[in-house]
Amino acid sequence: MHSFGYRLNGLLTFAVTILALMCVIASLSDNLNIPSPSAEIQIMNINWFQKQPKGSDEVSLRMNISADLQSLFTWNTKQVFIFVAAEYETRKNSLNQVSLWDAIIPAKERAKFWIRSSNKYRFVDHGKNLRGKEFNLTLHWHVMPKTGKMFADKIVMSGYSLPEEYI
């Protein structure tokens, strides 16, 4: 430590190493948080339900999404990314997932909300399997940290179904 440069280098490297350790501990502290989120989705209306010219079924629906995701936020949370997916089974595939809507929640205050919206992304099938189909609507969320591990989880809501004939 015999010169200005040596001491400066020593200080900076030690400071950055300790900062990395602090970030690791901050990420580990996220595990202490036990979230208790809740969500509800109602299908208000089926706008239309058509067969596309190329042959695939497509449906447009209007949803009322309400959720309370405030317990997901910790001091180490940057934002929460949520999306709603429709999940159903066909003869060809045991699981089909179609993302209908998503949003980014930047702060805890905005995590308790309701929104009425038609699907942001097209609900299209691979084929003509949607008539009378029963499906689940699942709200997925990804808790994105400021530093460290990202947590992802979901709530499955079942009991939705599409009309028997095209509208």
Partner: protein, 91 residues
Amino acid sequence: MDWQGQKLAEQIMQIMLLVFAVTAFVAGYVLGSFQMMVLVYAGGVTLTGLITIPNWPFFNRHPLNWLDPSEAEKHPKPQVTVISKKKGSKK
């Protein structure tokens, strides 16, 4: 800085950084603010730098006793006599 001063500077630096790191983390966690942790830590690093990096006088309390120049003249450096043993050369 003298040797004792260098050791002192290194010790002060390590201890101060660790103390500020713990303080910053606790402050950030209790207040629920990541930004607070980073700000307290950055302030701590700067303060530690101001105390340990420049050559303050209190780091030089055990100065080394270099030999006085007039003393050195009284004891001239011994001359090294070179005995060359090259083949085929006569001096």
